[in-house]
């Protein structure tokens, strides 16, 4: 009996080691391809940057273009071209690496069948995550500044609410893209999203009572409305002219 156990264990260990031995060259090939192409990309980008700086590419472009181009000093056309070259090389490295990885598993397609789609989905998920995070930050700032300039006391709350709405939506999209969680993610997303929307609606609704009542007062005859002893009319500076 012990012999059988020992045999089973040794066969299992052998199979695991063989699988690992098959897996490692593919992984090493992937890493090598990415590293080498990244180094090549950095070199090409540096060379291109130096060349474009020498020929004053930015100045020529802004002088000769029909439409005036508006570049930030830290994001000029030269830098953009260099970055495009660099990232193109990195992506090429990944493509070559994944192909090598796939080739290493030609005989054992099960691993390749699971890993490759997951790798491509992961890239998509990372892009979604970055885009969602940027969008959340942009919208949160927009709402915050607009709300502050509209003198809304709950400006920060509104901004944070919008930010989390977008982040929750992003997280749900990413998980859905990675096919993680299944219906649990949908359910959790629905509850969270609905909860945030309800909270914001209540907060804005309750906080904007004065604004709404003032707006209605402008349209409805004042005698129709019952007098509100707590209401204080906002002082308007009719004589103040900014322009």
């Amino acid at each position: 009996m012990w012999q059988q156990v020992e045999l089973a264990l040794s066969q299992s260990a052998h199979r695991a080691l063989v699988t690992l031995a098959n897996f490692l060259p593919g992984l090493l090939a992937l890493l090598l391809a990415v590293l080498i192409l990244t180094a090549i990309g950095a070199l090409l980008a540096a060379l291109l940057r130096r060349f474009l700086t020498t020929i004053r590419f930015d100045e020529r472009l802004s002088r000769n273009s029909l439409v005036p181009l508006d570049w930030a000093p830290s994001h000029g056309p030269t830098l953009l071209a260099a970055r495009i070259i660099f990232w193109a090389c990195v992506v090429l490295g990944f493509v070559i690496g994944i192909s090598a990885f796939d080739a290493a598993y030609a005989g054992n397609s099960q691993m390749s069948f699971f890993l490759l789609p997951y790798l491509t989905h992961s890239v998509g998920a990372i892009i979604l995550l970055l885009a969602g995070t940027f969008l959340a930050r942009y919208l949160a700032r927009t709402v915050l500044i607009e709300a502050v300039n509209a003198r809304l006391q709950y400006a920060r709350f509104l901004s944070v609410g919008v930010k989390w709405l977008v982040l929750v939506l992003t997280a749900a999209t990413v998980l859905d893209h990675l096919e993680i969680g299944g219906t649990v993610v949908d359910l959790a997303f629905g509850i969270l999203f609905g909860g945030i929307v309800l909270t914001l609606s209540l907060a804005v609704g309750l906080g904007s009572r004065d604004i709404v009542s003032r707006s209605l007062e402008k349209n409805v005859e004042t005698e129709v409305l019952p007098p509100d002893p707590t209401y204080k009319p906002q002082v308007t500076n009719e004589t103040l002219r900014h322009f």
């Binding site: 439409v67 930030a72 994001h75 500044i145 006391q153 002082v235 103040l240 900014h242």
Partner: protein, 403 residues
């Protein structure tokens, strides 16, 4: 550098000496009802001189008898937009085109509400344009202490410090142009009109300064200043300041070389405030912004300025006073952040609005305490001039440590 003589001479009728000069007067944004009084004013201002008067197609007088010395021209105005209360790229372009077609040597552009200009003011503008050899004559309005505050806080001091130009109203809506100035402005306008941005703003003072043209001012004591249709201060500030900051960005190589200082101006007397103005809403706006926008300001402003704002936030309304040096640094750092795109430009200018309101509140409190508003504006302008090396330095080396 552009010389900047100021119109201080007493008004004397001088039309006879310039009778041979062809003068084109361009009336922009003119409603049909305003045509009759506008033409009557022009006829009274130039009783003996032949004048070309350009009117928008929609405002051509029907059944109105015009003075024989006024020759009416018609032009197609730009589509109605929110910026029709100031002179736009289309106005400058149309003026130059008409001046060329009709061999005019001098142009006067009278902005929206031009019919409210007094005869003497029109004559002042024309005389200065015809006789002073200045390429650009800008109207100098006499506004009350609560009017034209954006101009007093930002447009005037910034333009004066950077372009070393004297005009008190860089975005004046009544200007006189020599033909070469009109041509230069039309060329600048064409860049916008070619992109269908006919309502873009132009900055004639910086254009003239960069070209080395001479600039003068003409007194326009009374005039109804047109107000923008939109009451959204945030949107209006965004529109005006983004145009000004973009213009500053484009002309960086020019204004960094300008080292001269305009010098102290004579302070005109202004009507005192009859009643105290409630500045509480503006202070509330600043305090709300201080508690919410601090992290956005921290991306734009250096620690020393943030410290100044912190001190400002704890001041009582009676003692609320924004130091001129603090305001100068705020504006300069926002100009710099606009150039560097530190944050989204719309966000940046939105974050400036509460700071501007704080300056307005501080200015009004100071004026109510008895200080002459023009004296304070002059002090602010001088502070901008004094601190110009800071902007130049940070413009050239933005990453250098700043306090």
């Amino acid at each position: 550098m552009a010389s900047t003589p100021t119109n201080t001479a007493a008004a004397t009728p001088e039309t006879s000496s310039t009778a041979s000069t062809s003068l084109l007067i361009h009336l922009s944004s003119m409603s049909p009802e305003a045509v009759e009084p506008a033409l009557a004013n022009l006829a009274a201002a130039f009783p003996t001189q032949n004048i070309l008067v350009a009117l928008p197609e929609s405002a051509q007088p029907n059944g109105i008898e015009t003075a024989p010395n006024l020759r009416l021209l018609s032009y197609t105005p730009a589509a109605a937009s929110a910026t029709n209360w100031v002179l736009t790229a289309a106005d400058y372009f149309n003026t130059y085109k008409l001046a060329l077609e009709n061999n005019a040597s001098v142009c006067l552009l009278l902005g929206a509400g031009g019919h409210t200009l007094e005869t003497e003011s029109i004559r002042n503008l024309a005389r200065e344009t015809l006789s002073s050899q200045a390429d650009l004559v800008v109207a100098h309005y006499h506004l009350g202490p609560r009017e034209g505050l954006v101009n007093s806080a930002i447009l005037y001091p910034l333009t004066r410090a950077l372009f070393c130009s004297r005009p008190r109203f860089p975005l004046a809506i009544d200007v006189g142009l020599s033909l070469r100035m009109a041509e230069r402005l039309a060329t600048a306008a064409q860049r916008f009109t070619a992109q269908n941005q006919e309502d873009a703003l132009l900055w004639p003072v910086s254009e003239a300064a960069a070209a080395g043209f001479s600039i003068a001012e003409a007194e326009v004591p009374k005039r109804a200043i047109p107000q923008p249709a939109s009451l959204d201060l945030n949107a209006l500030l965004n529109q005006i300041l983004s145009s000004l900051f973009a213009d500053i960005d484009v002309r960086a190589s020019f204004w960094q070389r300008m080292r001269s200082v305009v010098g102290a101006q004579t302070i005109p007397t202004t009507s005192p405030l009859t009643e105290a103005l409630d500045v509480t809403p503006m202070l509330d706006s600043f305090h709300l912004a201080y508690s919410n926008l601090h992290e956005i300001w921290a991306l734009v402003l250096p620690p020393h300025t943030l410290l100044g704002l912190k001190r400002l936030s704890v001041m009582t309304p009676e003692n609320f006073r924004m130091a001129d040096s603090l305001w100068v640094r705020i504006v300069y750092d926002f100009v710099l952040a606009y150039r560097l795109r530190t944050i989204n430009r719309g966000h940046l200018l939105g974050a400036l609005t509460p700071l501007y309101l704080a300056w307005v509140a501080s200015h009004l409190i100071l004026v109510q305490s008895g200080v002459s508003p023009e004296q304070h504006i002059e002090d602010v302008a001088q502070a901008f001039e004094t601190d110009k090396p800071y902007l130049v330095s940070r413009w050239r080396w933005p990453d250098r440590f700043n306090p």
